[in-house]
């Protein structure tokens, strides 16, 4: 395989890691929201940590191999779709990070309630269903989707 094919393979692998881990985090977060007991919610939120190394590899790999490919394939320095993808990558990472901090807070509250009778309360329900947190996760997902659109479309 040529260098460009290797870079493309690694870039796409990183994208699979990034999107796959984001989907895994979404499923686990949804399971936490639907969990009837705080101990179960805390467990699912804690499991999100196990997919974070995959996500970090994806976040770093998409950027590093993407920029290398940009150079190797000779795309123009002014290629708007690549700059737009970079901007969306920053937005997705920032919103994903903020959403992750909210999930950590929810996990702390859920663990506290789990050790004190394991009964849910309004505070935990409000944190898990917080519209701002959900909007952040949704926008991070939309940004990732928009990057995928740009990468396939290459306008």
């Amino acid at each position: 395989m040529s260098l460009v094919q290797w870079l493309l393979t690694l870039h796409i692998t990183a994208a699979f890691f990034y999107v796959g881990a984001a989907v895994a985090a979404l499923i686990l977060n949804t399971l936490a929201v639907l969990a009837p007991r705080p101990s179960e919610a805390a467990y699912f939120l804690k499991l999100i940590r196990t997919v974070l190394p995959v996500m970090f590899l994806g976040v770093a790999g998409t950027l590093a191999f993407g920029i290398w490919l940009w150079h190797e394939r000779g795309y123009s320095i002014g290629a708007g779709w690549i700059w737009a993808s970079l901007a969306l990558w920053v937005v997705a990472a920032a919103l994903g990070g903020a959403g992750g901090r909210r999930q950590e807070h929810a996990r702390e509250v859920a663990e506290r309630l789990a050790s004190a009778g394991d009964t849910s309360n309004d505070e935990l329900k409000a944190i898990l269903r917080d519209p701002r947190g959900q909007a952040m996760s949704l926008l991070a997902g939309v940004a990732l989707l928009a990057i995928l659109v740009l990468m396939v479309w290459k306008p």
Partner: protein, 143 residues
């Protein structure tokens, strides 16, 4: 504009379906491994749900694959490239592995049987490895 850009939709749906399918199976692998160490029933139920979530992803991926194949005229290519054979092989054989994992997860959820749990973890891990081979072969255009 996107709608008129030729092969955008088929390939986009194929890639999107494949990536979300990987996410679903990754979740199932994590939950099944954890569920083998921790016997609480909610982990077995979650593994089953994570595997069920793979079905719509698989359908989108497979429809996108066939649509791209037809649009780009690959059916007339003789011989077919290796990467295409690997992709179709994983898609069509892999669905059997996925369905067996879903069946195993249903059994595990109902019985709590450790053998069922091991089978689910093994089949999910196998399917994840098959997906990785497919995306490596297809993105690297092997053969």
């Amino acid at each position: 504009m996107i709608a008129y850009s030729g092969p955008f939709w088929p390939f986009f749906l194929h890639v999107l379906g494949a990536m979300t399918l990987f996410g679903g199976i990754l979740t199932a692998v994590v939950l099944s491994i954890v569920g083998l160490r921790d016997a609480r029933p909610f982990l077995r139920a979650a593994t089953f749900l994570a595997l069920l979530s793979c079905i719509p992803d698989y359908v989108v991926m497979r429809i996108g694959a066939q649509w791209t194949y037809n649009n780009e005229g690959w059916k007339h290519a003789k011989p077919q490239p290796t990467w295409l054979g690997i992709g179709f092989g994983v898609a069509d054989m892999g669905v059997i592995v996925l369905l067996l994992a879903i069946g195993g997860a249903y059994w595990w959820r109902r019985s709590g049987n450790t053998i069922a749990g091991r089978a689910v973890a093994g089949l999910s891990g196998l399917y994840m490895a098959m997906l990785a081979v497919a995306w490596l072969a297809m993105s690297g255009k092997w053969g």
